[in-house]
Amino acid sequence: MASSSSSSLSRVVVKSSDNNLFVVNKKVASQSQLLKQCIDNMEEKGTNDVILIPLSNVTSNILTLVLEYCEKHADFADDDNNNQELKQWDHEFLKKFDYATLNSLTMAADYMVTKSLLNLCCQFIADSIKDLTVQQIRQIFDIKNDFTPQEEADIKNENAWAFR
């Protein structure tokens, strides 16, 4: 596989679940292990055609965000991970979203195997959970309380110190 044959793709086309097409250059796409794997597979087969990668559970508005992230990180791909400018950008990037978007973005990052984005989203959600009350957590993440009032009171009493 080390032979540098003619097959080298410069761009791929990614299709969102709602059938929108995105042309992505290889360096940007490589930020996602899923896309990178597809490209590597095609290159090994020696295909010269532009390939189409369908992402059956990422909508186009979420895909736009993932690609925006990948583009930014591709620019810094040769820097070390501790670039302050990039860190600042990451933070500003996530700050804009509501939790529904953040949820979808997290799942898309997981599905597309974009580890740094997944980690970033999880850390961001974790940081916001830290300061929320149980009631706020349920509201924001749209979680139904399936405990009886007695059960809930028991759990709280077990660890009353954590609720002070």
Binding site: D110, C122, A126, I129, N145, I155, W161, A162
Partner: protein, 398 residues
């Protein structure tokens, strides 16, 4: 594409686990009451071990835990104060837990630490038991009665068995040889998941000589000692590391590095460097009598002779004043901790905490206490969160 993925609007459980593994213990204890699925995710043993691993691998989550014990004779109370502080910032501290025991529990004794859990021995009038405490979730549990009280001295340790994927408390019963009777060598093992004590006999138990401070890493606990076949009188310098493996439940001996003959004095302390056992070796320079040698060795292999088991990490020449300090307090220095972020050792001498700067070789006093003092590199964990009958006696925080 051969993978077919079903779209989903709610976050997958694996992703919640990922998020939870970044949260502190207190938030997780609170989050258990959000809904049933959150509670079962947080209580899941595989999540608890994932959380521990993540916290251990993240240096920002490492704290220095210290505790002091005080006996108050006025009201027959006994107090254990637990504090945590950020590694390297010694002066900034926060009390997380104060435990008060009644006068009946007249003495407690620190035995060991693993993954956020502290093990203590508790002496009553005429009886003795062991209890575990997880300060980050304020839970404690008393272990079942020890099946046989040791006839002689016993050493109690706690650690993780990577083979069974479980925690163990082990009591090593040192053999006593009397004229007409020999007590068998054995260890008593308490496995968390089984919840009972059992005996393991027929082991070659090390001599109890100087089994004091120990270092636990990667499922093995190490002490400074001598080899198994040594006869009295004891040599001046420690000659071996004796190690107990929590997985195989066996002891092994590793020769200490360098020349350890009685001709000249070596001052040796074990400590943890990253996740390896290291020893600090200080000795007078035989050629240049105005200086001393300061050497750090890291154990690369457990068992065997020293040339194959150690690698030299650091070697410095130090002044006689520094050497004098270590010589004067040779038997009083405890709890040697290396704090990588500030390149300093922390150590305790007779209830005082001091720092030793590896660059300048300056020794500074940081804190003193009139009670009994101990410090431990600490990460939070959720161990004991579930299946806990017994609560802390009395918890308050400030």
């Amino acid at each position: 594409m051969d993978e077919e993925i079903i779209p989903s609007k709610i976050l997958l459980p694996e992703l919640w686990m990922e998020i939870f593994s970044k949260l502190p213990a207190k938030t997780l204890v609170r989050s258990r009451c959000v809904c049933k699925s959150w509670r079962s995710m947080i209580d899941n043993p595989s999540f608890i071990s994932m959380h521990i691993t993540r916290f251990k691998n993240n240096f920002n989550k490492h704290f220095l835990l210290s505790f002091e014990t005080h006996n108050s004779f006025d009201d027959d109370q006994f107090e254990l104060k637990i504090r945590v502080r950020t590694m390297g910032k010694f002066r900034k501290r926060e009390q997380i837990l104060g435990l008060t025991f009644s006068a009946d529990d007249y003495h407690i004794d620190y035995k060991g630490y693993v993954d956020g859990l502290l093990l203590f021995g508790r002496y009553y009038v005429g009886s003795y038991d062991l209890f575990l405490l997880n300060p980050s979730i304020r839970k404690s549990i008393v272990l079942p009665q020890i099946p046989s009280s040791p006839a002689g001295r016993a050493e109690t340790v706690i650690g993780f068995d990577p083979v069974k994927n479980d925690y163990k408390v082990v009591m090593i019963l040192f053999p006593i040889r009397l004229v007409d009777h020999t007590f068998p060598d054995s260890i008593m093992v308490y496995e968390f998941r089984i919840g009972e004590w059992r005996f393991n006999t027929g082991l070659e138990i090390p001599h109890e000589w100087f089994l004091g401070e120990n270092v636990l890493t990667k499922g093995v606990v190490h002490w400074l000692s001598f080899n198994l076949f040594l006869q009295l009188p004891l040599p001046k310098n420690y000659t071996h590391i004796v190690s107990f493996n929590f997985g195989t439940e066996t002891f092994s001996y590793t020769e200490l590095p360098g020349d350890r003959s009685d001709d000249y004095e070596k001052i040796t302390y074990p400590f943890l460097l990253g996740d390896s056992l290291a020893v600090l070796d200080i000795s007078l320079d035989l050629v240049d009598v105005y200086h001393a040698n300061f050497c750090i060795w890291v154990m690369t292999k457990c068992g065997g002779n020293w040339t194959e088991s150690w690698s030299k990490r650091d070697h410095k020449v130090i002044g006689l004043d520094t050497f004098g300090f270590f010589q004067e307090y040779k038997y009083n220095i405890r709890n040697l901790l290396y704090v990588e972020s500030i390149q300093k050792f922390l150590l305790e001498v007779n209830g005082k905490v001091k720092s030793y700067d590896l660059e300048s070789h300056k020794i500074k006093e940081l804190e003193s206490s009139d009670g009994c003092y101990s410090m431990i590199p600490y990460v939070e964990s959720l161990l004991l969160c579930k299946r806990l009958e017994e609560e802390c006696h009395d918890c308050d925080s400030d």
